[in-house]
């Protein structure tokens, strides 16, 4: 445990080419499906596109949140794999492209974009100060500008440190992270309001921003856990990752699974208790027809399975279990977003077909490509970071 005991045993190896090929293959298949979906049923495709945007935002923004959180909290245990989170945060760069098709399908997605409807609807009329197309686009651009600015500044400093090893870059990033946090809280809330809540413009839930935040963090953490475990197992990562690191990742996953359930249940409980017609219809939509099974499935998929899968202490440090649970949680997050978005499209009847399948394939392909692309000319660990050694020596 002496501070000079561990020498960093890391030499950069290129990720296997098969990964890039796999990424391209998935991306290609996904893209073909997505494009043909837009030609065949552009309304349905637009809704799926919204899910895709939310999913990629979750991974990108959640990863950036963890990077900032590590700086801000002065955490050392996560320093060795901060780069993995930074790579995933690069997803933010492609978000504007993913969001572009939405702007051309606003009328299909958002009820409040129809002027004649708004004029005859008192509620929508009074909300139109916020819910109007131009302000919506301005907000969307503001989100992307804020996220990308912080992403570029934080990762640029982190990358510079690899070469210079300058410690002042860390303290610089701490300050930037402190500024980022309130922006993050506001943007994640307002993006949830814009992209999820405004699908049902009459409905409101003050907790929905936190709900989306919990899913965001969970998805980013699951993606990072999966990548870290795989990299360590295949020997691409720095030596010295021990079960204490795994345990911390598993415990965080477990904590946020519970946090999600807590928030999701709080939202349901309050609406169920108050029993106000302007709130309850949102849940009733999710209880009509076969949506009932989707809703029950959400509880099982998003809470019960990961809860019991990660409950015991050994399961939190078992790489095999972590890999499985990460994939499961990523799937659960997609399921959650489907549950949030799609009832507006298929009222009373949940649809799932090749269109719904194409978008996740595209998402996975994109994430693999982004990760491999970013890892080409960067180290997998922040070798210049002053906290790295302490991070590798981290023991519970």
């Amino acid at each position: 445990m002496s501070s000079n005991q561990t020498n960093i045993d890391y030499s950069k190896k290129d990720l296997p080419g098969i990964l890039t090929k796999l990424g391209f293959a998935l991306f290609g298949v996904g893209l073909v499906i997505v494009i043909s979906a837009f030609f065949i049923d552009h309304t349905r495709a637009a809704f799926n596109n919204l899910i895709l945007l939310l999913f990629l935002t979750s991974i990108g923004l959640g990863s950036l949140f963890f990077v900032a959180l590590e700086y801000l909290a002065g955490a050392v245990w996560s320093t060795p794999f901060r780069r993995v989170l930074e790579f995933f945060a690069a997803t933010l760069v492609i978000l504007p492209i993913v969001a572009l098709p939405l702007l051309f399908n606003m009328h299909d997605l958002f009820h409040w974009t129809h002027n004649e409807v708004v004029q005859s609807d008192t509620l929508l009329k009074s909300k139109s100060g916020y819910l109007n197309v131009s302000f919506f686009i301005i907000r969307m651009i503001a989100f992307f500008v804020i996220w990308l600015t912080f992403y570029f500044v934080i990762t640029r400093n982190s990358k510079k440190q690899d070469i210079s090893g300058d410690q002042s870059l860390t303290s610089k990033n701490i300050k930037i992270s402190a500024v980022f946090m309130p922006f993050f809280a506001l943007t994640v809330t307002f993006s949830a309001i814009d992209w999820i809540m405004s699908l049902e413009p009459h409905w409101f839930s003050t907790i929905l921003g936190v709900y989306y935040f919990s899913g965001t963090v969970l998805a980013a953490l699951a993606a990072a856990t999966l990548a870290i475990v795989l990299l360590v197992e295949k020997g691409y990562f720095v030596k010295g990752m021990v079960r204490d690191h795994y345990y911390s990742l598993g415990a965080l996953l477990f904590a946020f699974v519970n946090f999600w359930a807590y928030i999701a249940f709080s939202q349901y409980l309050l609406i169920w208790y108050a029993n106000l017609p302007e709130e309850t219809f949102w849940f009733l939509h999710r209880w009509e027809g076969n949506w009932m099974f989707v809703s029950i499935g959400l509880i099982i998929v998003h809470f019960i399975v990961p809860y019991f899968g990660l409950l015991s202490q050994p399961s939190k440090m078992d790489p095999k279990r972590l890999k499985f649970m990460s994939v499961w949680i990523l799937f659960a997050h997609f399921y959650d977003l489907y549950w949030l978005v799609m009832p507006t499209y298929g009222k009373g009847y949940a649809v799932f077909g090749w269109i719904e399948l194409g978008f996740p394939i595209l998402a996975v392909g994109l994430l693999i490509l982004i990760f491999t692309f970013k890892s080409k000319n960067q180290n997998l660990i922040p070798i210049g970071d002053p906290k790295l050694k302490r991070g590798l020596n981290f023991r519970l």
Binding site: D244, F265, W272, N275, R395
Partner: protein, 379 residues
């Protein structure tokens, strides 16, 4: 010294890194019963000491599940069987409303029971003394040093090897720790008079001060406005009115709502002419009529209206109700008889409500029809 019983050997280290290494070495040497004392939890110590995963988690799980089950059962029993109250239009078994309570009880049961288990089972609770108490070693390791203790009851333990091992590891202040003679007495501490009297004093002081605080110091007159209202109670005296009564009699000629007084007093012919039966001969009305007839009419008129009294001559038998005269009377005329009485038949106005009188007439018509059926009834 030889009459003392050896508890173990202790050694002191200066840094957390040293103590981790030492613990690791001792564990590798095969020692099972040894312990490390540090001023704060040292990260990685469990690993270095090669401790197995704590079993305390299972206690937490079991007690947590007990909490869950008892919360569900209690609330289910209370709000579904024992005292069901509709709250906010929700079902009796309002599961979402139960969830926060189930959660709280689960957490409470798990945490409290885990701490109690830890103290009772793992720390062997009533045993409040330990050979390490009041030693130089304990003073050091609870301020700024890191200590290791090799227990004498370990299978590998011999005084020489323990000393040697500690010295090899670079420990300072290697000392032997002996059981305190007073501590190894077999008597249970909890039965000592001193301890028991302390418990009694605590009980008296706590309950007395609680009683004083809650019932004397913080006493508030309970909410009793419902019992003591400034209003006039019926049947009470009241000096406000000249007759000294609280209750007022209604003004002459007052009629209770829906209860017009009988208009045809002493005028059976008008009653027969103007009164109409308010009921229809439905099954329900006929049932009511039969019930009332059997109660009030049948003792004299007989169950079938034939004048066959059950009173065995104690009261004169009335004539049959199947006579031409009675059959041709209108319902109103019959109603007048029931209401006012006739000859020696008293008034039944106080026994039967208006509706019951009309229903009874309907039933009487059925009885009459049974003995004087029409041709058309056969069809």
């Amino acid at each position: 010294m030889s009459d003392k019983i050896l508890y173990g050997y202790t050694g002191i280290f200066d840094t957390p890194d040293e103590i981790i290494l030492a613990a690791n070495k001792v564990a590798e040497d095969g020692y099972k019963k040894f312990d490390v004392n540090t001023p704060y939890p040292v990260h990685g110590m469990d690993n270095a000491m090669k401790l197995p995963v704590s079993k305390l988690g299972y206690a937490a799980l079991i007690f947590g599940l007990t909490g869950t089950i008892s919360a569900v059962t209690l609330m289910y029993f209370l709000s579904v069987f024992d005292y069901p109250i509709v709250i906010g239009g929700k079902p009796f078994f309002a599961f979402p409303a139960f969830v926060p309570i189930i959660f709280e009880v689960t957490v409470l049961a798990a945490s409290i029971a885990t701490v109690v288990t830890m103290i009772a089972l793992f720390f062997k609770f009533p045993n409040i003394s330990h050979p390490l108490h009041d030693t130089e070693y304990m003073k050091k390791v609870s301020s700024d040093k890191y200590g290791i203790l090799l227990q004498a009851d370990d299978l590998k333990f011999t005084e020489e090897s323990a000393k040697e091992l500690l010295a090899k590891l670079g420990a300072k202040d290697i000392t032997a720790i002996y059981y305190d003679q007073a501590e190894i007495s077999t008597e249970h501490k909890i039965f000592e008079p001193k301890f028991i009297s302390l418990l009694i004093i605590i009980a008296v002081v706590v309950s007395g001060s609680t009683y004083f605080a809650l019932n004397k110091l913080m006493f508030m007159v309970p909410f009793n406005w419902m019992m003591e209202q400034s209003k006039i109670i019926p049947q009470d005296n009241n000096s406000f009115f000249s007759d000294g009564k609280a209750m007022r009699t209604p003004i002459e000629g007052t009629v209770a709502r829906g209860n017009m007084p009988y208009q045809f007093k002493g005028d059976p012919e008008s009653a027969g002419k103007y009164l109409k039966n308010t009921l229809l001969p439905t099954e329900k009305n006929l049932d009511l009529g039969k019930k009332k007839y059997d109660i009030y009419c049948s003792p004299c008129h007989g169950y079938y209206g034939e004048g066959d009294s059950r009173l065995r001559g104690q009261f004169p038998n009335p004539p049959s109700l199947h006579s031409e005269k009675v059959r041709t009377w209108t319902d109103g005329r019959l109603y007048h008889v029931i209401t006012e009485g006739q000859n020696i038949m008293p008034s039944y106005a106080s026994q039967m409500t208006r509706k019951e009188r009309w229903a009874t007439i309907l039933y009487l018509r059925v009885l009459q029809r049974s003995l004087n059926a029409k041709e058309s009834d056969l069809e």
